[in-house]
Amino acid sequence: MNVHTAMRQWPAEGLTRVPYWVYSDRALYDEEQERIFRGDTWTFLCMEAELPTPNSFRASNLGDMPVVVTRDADGVIHAFENRCAHRGSLLCLKERGEVREIVCVYHNWTYDLTGKLTGVAFRRGIAGKGGMPSDCKPEEHAPRQLRIAVFAGLVFGTLSHDTPPLDAYLGPDHVARIRRVMRAPARLIGGYSQIIPSNWKLYIENVKDSYHASLLHMFFTTFRLNRLSQKGGLVVSDAGGNHISYSMTQDVAGKEYEQAGLRSANDGYALEAPDMLLKNVDEFGDGIGLQILTVFPGFVLQQIRNCLAVRRVVPRGLEKTELVWTCFGFTTDDDVLAELRLRQANLIGPAGFISMEDGAAAGFVQRGVAGASDALSLVEMGGSGTASEESRVSEAAVRGFWKDYRRHMGF
């Protein structure tokens, strides 16, 4: 625990309370970058399919830190800090592309695709004048290398040698549930990003909050895509930071919504062309229509019927978060399935019928707690624990996040 976290006390109630200062403390934000994003965690960097050929690269992030992910001439994937050894300039100024070497535009220092410094312009000066002293070793200032792990077409990176191997970090449930979705080689279908007007943790809490799904997102419930009465479950990892929420496509009846008189239980509500939007096939063969999976700190894998996406949660400052969506199908998709994925993509993203509210909700909390940094939020649905359970009327996965967060931060 360093000086700053020592000044802060987590509420005595434990995981059922979250102090609002966690969303508005600049020093805490900086410490999270060091202890979480640059610490003993795996960050999802990109899909392997985003590096389609040898000599390709993709810009990404490890928290605040810009990184470049590359596939070298031999097909091996690397990632390193996007920062020149010389004066710290960004090395890579494009989102993606193909290159044989990476050249810093500022003073033309060159790197190979493993991140190794290979050339310093005018190192020996010109005509015996200028240049760098012979005992200067710029190679020792090279951008930091990440450890890489590629699993099921997903590329993860970490700066720490102490991060456990990826499969142990994910745990057996997540290994199985990621494999379930990534059933064939992925084919990109596109992407976009969404700026969330809140601290990164508010968005992650929203994803892990299976309680809000059918209450905030009324489109969802009205069309029985994911009523909480549908059979499903919530899986929380032992460390707490990874979760899976899933439900079957078929509604197993239940009149909870009607009895509760909630506005979302409006059975008279009908779309003119629902099949154009909602028609789907059971491509996984298990009847699971929705699976939302997170890996601490900021990775989301989403299966909503046939709409598949990965989301990267990138902190962009204390009260700003970029959510990078990448949608994909598989190289084995026929034209019919490919079109279904595009139609169902209307459900997700910033204009998604069932996700447009999420970014705004995180922002509502950020704005709502201004001036309440010492007040506490209540996280008591489903009790006080973080165990996996059948009911999704629970905040167990949110409590799981804070359990893992506190462990990393030393609270």
């Binding site: 992407g191 976009y192 779309l271 003119e272 062309a273 970029e322 595009l342 910033p350 204009a351 019928f353």
Partner: protein, 157 residues
Amino acid sequence: MNIEHIVAIADLNARYADAIDANRLEAWPDFFLDDGCYRVTTVENVAQGLPLNIIYATSRAMLRDRVKALREANVYEGQHYRHVLGTPLITLVEAAGLRARTSFMVARVMRTGDTMLFATGCYEDHIVVDTPDGARFVEKTVVLDSRQIDTLLAIPL
């Protein structure tokens, strides 16, 4: 170049934008043919040849469904847009209609008074001018210059 074509396209887009900015969303689908297509995508997806859209509808019924969802199901903070449109650039004239590109900028005004430049891009339009109801979109593709959307895209562009 035919000045009447430019006027027809500019007029259709002016009416289209006015309906959205004045919150007459129920009129929005009627600017399209019954089997008209409306998409919102980004320059980045187009440049990579990737088919993903932020919004994708292939009929007027789907557009009406989106309006219904915005009115009755989706939850978003009070806001409205102000479109500013450029001069249509006609890219193709053929028997099946006109194709044109029109730049736009959209400011978003929140109920709090916060106003921001929300979106810039172009409309890639395929228009028929001579339906009984006047000019209509066969296809309207909104190509956003940026891949980033602030918070949410509720009202159509």
